[in-house]
């Protein structure tokens, strides 16, 4: 029943409430995600290997490497509470979207307050989804389409183009094979008829 570590998506959950952390962790684990839960935006950035001072304006500088030697897994999605002391979920969202190395990681915001202006602001500034608390299993089920496995979006597009070209070629050869088969069948049919 176990999935290999590489096959599982890794979600970083951020919430200052210990109860909500336990809840989101369980919801995610039940949905077969690997989870790391932290209690603040600054801890989240630390885990992601991003420090306050990092300003990646030069594209020649390689992506920020993890500061923690035990952070081997990449993060495929970040789900964060909105209302947190210090750095809010919105602040965290902005920092992630402003980071060259992290901006393509999908971010989902959770909040107990159903405030349309807050929701719109988050979605406009790059959040993929906004969940009202308490978060349900049905909400977590909405995450899968947003998940990005492996490299960044840019690379994925390139891969898709190559795949498309290959698929076209394969389709054409399959068509050819099918035609040959039909031809052979026809020949066989004719031979039967002639018996």
């Amino acid at each position: 029943m176990g999935m290999a570590a590489e096959d599982q998506f890794h979600v970083l959950a951020v919430d200052d409430s210990i109860i909500d952390r336990k809840l989101i962790e369980t919801l995610l684990k039940i949905s077969s995600y690997q989870v790391t839960a932290v209690d603040s935006g600054s801890k989240a950035l630390e885990f992601l290997g991003l420090h306050e001072e990092d300003e990646q304006s030069d594209a020649n500088i390689p992506s920020v490497s993890p500061s923690n030697h035990h952070q081997v897994l990449e993060v495929n999605l970040i789900i964060t509470d909105y209302c947190m002391p210090g750095m809010t979920g919105y602040d965290l969202l902005r920092k992630i979207k402003e980071s060259k190395s992290l901006k393509d990681i999908p971010v989902v915001i959770m909040s107990s307050e159903n405030e349309p202006s807050r929701i719109n602001r988050c979605l406009e500034d790059g959040a993929q989804e906004f969940f009202l608390k308490p978060v349900q299993l049905s909400d977590v089920n909405k995450l899968r389409p947003h998940l990005l496995k492996g490299s960044s979006k840019g690379n994925q597009h390139t891969i898709n183009k190559t795949d498309e070209a290959t698929m076209e070629q394969e389709n054409q050869s399959t068509e050819r094979q099918r035609n040959i088969l039909y031809h052979d069948l026809e020949v066989v049919q004719l031979e039967f008829d002639n018996l």
């Binding site: 109860i19 909500d20 608390k133 299993l137």
Partner: protein, 154 residues
């Protein structure tokens, strides 16, 4: 008491908690997340809630007892308590918190203090009820039975 009787008692007790509004649908969600790989989930989350709430209630008492009440601080604590009670389905505690937040917004100290009493009262009641429920569960499991969650029929 034999297992069947205990299970019926558990069912009746649980249903009454919902009917009397102590618990809402969120508690059912928690129960549904509990399974063989996570057999103590509900007790664990609720225990965290008890610990967290007791601390918050103490902080609130202290904050409202200050010479000059810091309403922002009071509001922050109530917001936390409202959130956690909502997360475990403790409906009456959550509603009492909403009322307390309103008094806070009005900066009405008397109102806040009275409402805090109400929050404490609701908290103690649901704590008591949940502890009874968990004790029943322990007895059922100790007697070799299982907790008939699927028979709640909501």
């Amino acid at each position: 008491m034999e297992v069947g009787q205990m299970q019926r008692q558990w069912l009746d007790y649980t249903k009454s908690l919902f009917l009397e509004g102590f618990l809402d649908g969120q508690f059912l969600q928690l129960q549904q997340l509990q399974d063989e790989s996570n057999p103590d989930f509900v007790v664990e989350v609720v225990s965290l809630f008890f610990e967290d709430s007791e601390k918050l209630l103490n902080d609130l008492t202290s904050a409202l007892g200050q010479q000059s009440v810091d309403f922002k601080r009071v509001d922050a604590h109530v917001h936390q308590l409202k959130g956690s009670s909502s997360s475990i389905g403790a409906q009456r505690v959550k509603n009492a918190c909403i009322a307390l937040r309103n008094y806070c917004e009005e900066q009405n100290i008397e109102g806040c203090i009275g409402c805090l009493q109400q929050v404490k009262h609701e908290y103690n009641m649901v704590k008591n009820k949940l502890e009874n429920l968990f004790r029943l569960e322990q007895q059922i499991v100790a007697a070799g039975g299982s907790i008939p969650m699927t028979e709640l029929g909501f």
